[in-house]
Symmetry: C2
């Protein structure tokens, strides 16, 4: 599909205007836009502005509120549960991280579980909020169930990502942001549209046997956990995904596993949902709770340099540190513009028409 | 190899006597034995009493101290760095978890990074220490480098495990305890001894290409991260393993990655090691920091029952929740005795001879 490049500022302004028109406050409109645009800059368009249309349709159906009352419903010195009141996930997530950072400034660390929220974009955005405070940031979220536990055919888990950001000194920070499944839903859809097959180890058929058909997940199949099959440790990927689900949803009383509400307007919530909305989990640890931040960052630089200097495998030109590919995208997209597909631009145009805004990209 | 069954009590007494004879206090001898015997009971003999001989030889060479001065070198309300003073890992790990639990009782959560430690057995033991306090427990450790980062041929990471234990109500607790690599070193050694090959996705050759030779890691090869190859998400396994290494060693100033000291007596520490000993990381979150513990545990029961009732794949009879297989081993081994190989019994006999103890198993 053909792509056109746009400046960060042009896209930012257009996306932010849509959130404003839905009724978001100035701050919340900026927050929602910041998160989507961070995904674009980092080269993760599946979590970028292509989400705007679904967000708007979810808002239109009353499933997301533009003026939510996001409140702390339970807390201690270093823990809290936040009820997001059906906020845009970005609003809930950013508030939760701000609360965590404030608590960690006083007590060294803090952990927040959030319920009644919605899709929040890239987990890495929230983890990275801690960096400028010389803190380690963590973020997880549960998600629309597409992944079957090891030995099962039931789609009981999302691709449940984990993000961890660690500050460094002269080196760029360490930023890991990864799904606990081998492949994203969006990438399967692209392969299906192109009529291609996928390698074994991505999906299984309705009987739980390996499949190479990317469309199988719309016909009773499922994505497998990271690891692929039991022999290759899929129970470890299943464990990680389960931990994300428990921290995000059981701690907060959001919906867990199979009951996570769909984040697209054309699917309905499964009956018998035991909790409130979708759940996230955030954590912050202040570096100076462990050692002087400058000393830590110098030692972290050593870690990063050591791994960057690992000997590449045959046919590879370098070894990467988590966060490096996304950082390179950010540098190049800021300079050369962000590539956006025609389909996404058409979707934004449609959002503008529905909202009664004047499109000028 | 033929195995004989022994009662928990008989093995416990014999192992504990060895730690006592090395000079451990009554408490520390019990702690070291508790950890090794927990691995036996849970069916993880690679981390059980077969480690006693290496531990004793490491102690004999002065690499592990039986009477260490384990101290907190830096702390806040909810964080700390502990210097283990070359303690047995079990002594360091148990103390760190006790400190974390004490802090979490007051402030809701706590996080401890440990340096200058040694092999600590199964990570799950420490995570489970939190359960009886209605807390979530977490434990990680770095380990002898055997795993190559994605795109590399250098063995820069251990099989770096993560354990998370979550209390439940009527159901047994959720206990995930997994390496961030698809296969354990010990299992490769068994396959090699038996002259068998392994599936692709476990190891790579010295050029970084897939291999099915379990012995390749003694000839310049490496274990791959969970995921197997880049196409199947090995960079996600690499990220997890890196996070374990950073939390365990960079936060505490232990040795990271390639510099982690060998935990066997016949290998020497790599030159230029930047830190102190091996590192661990522990975390505790009090359930009542998020909601009433009883309500959480009832909701966690729902989570567990939902996943246990997932529909099994073709040819499978049930879907398991993390911790279930180990719990079943524990029940059966307590009733029928713990199976121990002749080799391990011979090793313990040798330990007894070296220590001048009278063997009577």
């Amino acid at each position: 599909m053909s792509k056109q490049r746009f400046t960060y500022e042009d896209l930012y302004g257009h996306v932010r205007a849509a959130f404003k028109k839905m009724g978001c406050t100035e701050d919340d409109a900026s927050t929602c836009t910041n998160v989507l645009m961070a995904a674009e800059l980092r080269g993760i368009p599946s979590h970028g502005i292509m989400r705007l249309k679904d967000y708007m349709l979810m808002w239109q159906k009353g499933k997301i509120k533009a003026r939510p009352n996001v409140t702390i419903v339970h807390e201690t010195a270093t823990t809290a549960v936040i009820d997001a009141d059906q906020a845009f996930g970005a609003v809930a997530g950013s508030k939760a991280m701000r609360v965590a950072i404030r608590k960690a400034e006083k007590y060294g660390s803090a952990w927040i579980s959030v319920r009644n929220s919605s899709h929040y974009g890239i987990a890495g955005y929230y983890a990275m909020m801690a960096l400028k405070k010389d803190m380690i940031g963590m973020a997880m979220t549960n998600a629309n169930p597409l992944v079957a536990p090891t030995f099962s055919v039931d789609r009981f888990l999302g691709t449940n990502p984990i993000a961890v950001a660690v500050p460094a000194g002269k080196e760029p920070p360490f930023v890991a942001d990864f799904a606990t499944a081998p492949i994203a839903r969006g990438k399967l859809a692209i392969k299906e549209r192109e009529g291609q097959s996928v390698p074994t180890g991505y999906v299984q058929n309705p009987e739980g046997e390996p499949s190479t058909d990317p469309g199988i997940i719309t016909r009773g199949g499922a994505i497998v956990p990271l690891g692929g099959d039991y022999e290759h440790g899929s129970h470890k990927g299943y464990s990680m995904s389960a931990i994300v689900d428990i921290f995000s949803a059981v701690l907060s009383r959001a919906n867990f596993g199979p009951f996570v509400p769909p984040q697209v307007p054309y699917l309905e919530q499964k009956e018998g949902a035991p909790g409130s909305g979708l759940g996230h989990f955030f954590g912050v640890m202040s570096i100076d709770g462990f050692q002087a931040a400058d000393e830590f960052k110098a030692y972290m630089d050593e870690w990063i340099k050591t791994f960057k200097n690992a000997k590449p495998a045959s046919g590879q030109k370098e070894v990467l540190v988590p966060g490096e590919p996304e950082r390179r995208n950010e540098i190049s997209f800021r300079e050369e513009g962000i590539p956006v597909s025609e389909k996404v631009i058409a979707d934004i145009r449609e959002v503008y028409e529905i909202l009664g805004l004047k499109f000028s990209l």
